[in-house]
């Protein structure tokens, strides 16, 4: 499998990364290299092997349902670019 230039540009758009035509070409090369590697790995017979969702053979630790976080809004908002009435302000978004 290999990606077209169009697919690379679509991925960049979804990831909100602005890339030039040249960069898209280079990235396409890199990504296709990764696909080649995957193809090689797919040659291995993995029938009967359970897929892993994580590199470590461990299970999720759980925490008790307890409120342990105090209100630190002032500290967090001190480093925000803009706030008003307790809200974080961002460029207008309406879908």
């Amino acid at each position: 499998m290999s990606l077209t230039l169009e697919q690379v540009q679509r991925i960049a758009l979804l990831a909100r990364i602005e890339i030039s035509e040249t960069e898209a070409q280079t990235t396409r090369g890199h990504l296709n290299g990764i696909f080649e590697l995957i193809e090689q790995m797919q040659a291995v017979d993995t029938r009967g092997v359970e897929p892993m969702a994580h590199a470590q053979e461990l299970s999720q630790r759980l925490r008790a349902d307890v409120v342990g976080e105090p209100d630190r809004r002032a500290a967090y908002q001190a480093v925000a670019p803009e706030t008003e009435a307790g809200l974080y302000l961002v460029p207008k978004v309406i879908e």
């Binding site: 979804l14 909100r16 969702a53 994580h54 590199a55 470590q56 461990l58 299970s59 999720q60 630790r61 759980l62 925490r63 008790a64 349902d65 307890v66 409120v67 342990g68 976080e69 209100d71 630190r72 809004r73 967090y76 908002q77 803009e82 008003e84 009435a85 307790g86 809200l87 974080y88 302000l89 961002v90 460029p91 207008k92 978004v93 309406i94 879908e95």
Partner: protein
Amino acid sequence: MTQWEVVIGIETHAQLATVSKIFSGASTAFGAEPNTQACAVDLALPGVLPVLNRKAVDCAIRFGLAIGARVAEKSVFERKNYFYPDLPKGYQISQFELPVVQGGSLTVQVGSGDKTYEKTINLTRAHLEEDAGKSLHEDFHGKSGIDLNRAGTPLLEIVTEPDMRSSDEAVAYARALHALVRWIGICDGNMQEGSFRCDANVSVRPKGQAEFGTRREIKNLNSFRFLKEAIDYEVHWQINEIEEGRKIRQATVLFDPDSGETRMMRSKEDAHDYRYFPDPDLLPLVISSEWIGEVKEDMWELPNDRKSRFEREYGLSSYDASLLNTNYDIGNYFEGVVLHALVSGERIGTELSKLAANWVINEVSAKMNQEGDGHPMWKFGVSSETLGHLLRRMREGVIGAKTAKELFTEFWEEARANNYAHHGGHPGKVDELVETRGLKQISDTGAIEALVDEVLTANPGNVAEFKAGKEKAFNALVGQVMKVAKGKANPQQVNELLKKKLAG
């Protein structure tokens, strides 16, 4: 004329009843000042890691058991990637390929009265995920305000198969699901606060066609009425489009309650491509059979189990049993009424059960409905002990049905007047009022006979009419006796005595 069939599937987001968030220790309480409950994890500050809330998993297990689903021994959290300012991480932690709850079904009653039918809705899955924050688009000098208090609130997204065939079935399912999540205590069901919201996938197809039509998804319906109105409008719109030769295109739409119309939010072309992948910050969630067993131990009898028991143990009709199981509290209340209505030494029988069921379904529900949607279902103006005692006295012949109803209403009004802070009346009060107000029913045959004789003498006209074959005259005479007795004569005895005297 083409006959159309409607196909509906529903996705519900139920906010889980935890005190802290799904991956952080921030509070989930509703209505706090903006961003005072958004901690470093919720804000996605660099270096933070999510840690899963055990209670959220517990809720998912509870739900899985309640709908007879498979609770996955191993499930996986994945990142659902999209950009929006109320989602600071740039992805929502959700579940995709391996959800925690798989399959299951919910059997619901559709319609009312004689037209009721039962329908089983199959569920595809239910998965755990985090909620996003809120964007406020009012004018902040051309900017949007972001409140992240809701970000990270635990949700269970419950997805059905496309099994519903009308808006009525969709509403019946949504109501039953709403009752169930409250019943098992995993969600407060507060729709105004957004704790329980539905998306409806709607399509139409010519009756008999095997393939589904193209669907449109109506987002964020937060009342049963809107759910029905939105589906009805959407179905009408889709049929009209097709009949006028246009094609339905897959899209996400919003319902505007003011206009009663749905309008397009985004089409399939600009739909999101979420690029799910397992979240490397979270390990697979493993649920042992011991854990599932513990949850099972801790669970109450489920709605459909209790419905069957009510039919079996109390001899109730399927319809009455289902009405008494629309929520946990009403069925409990009914059982309390029955117990307290027992005359000493008596065992529960169908006559008593039916009487108690009628009172709860008609009188109690009527009082609750008077309060409208705002009335919390668990707030009974009269306790089951008091109502049971009223019915007991009625069944013992101490008071008549009319008196019982009057006292019940008086007690309920008392509770309403104090805004349901406490119940109106109490069992002792029933006996006290019967005594002090002289409400005791006259059941002494001699006394009633005297009244009957008095009325017969005073109303020779009615007597003559009755003897001439006018049935109505009999009722007039009964009315006269009750009037003379100030409503306190046992109506059955009055009837019998009158019949005997008139025949004689």
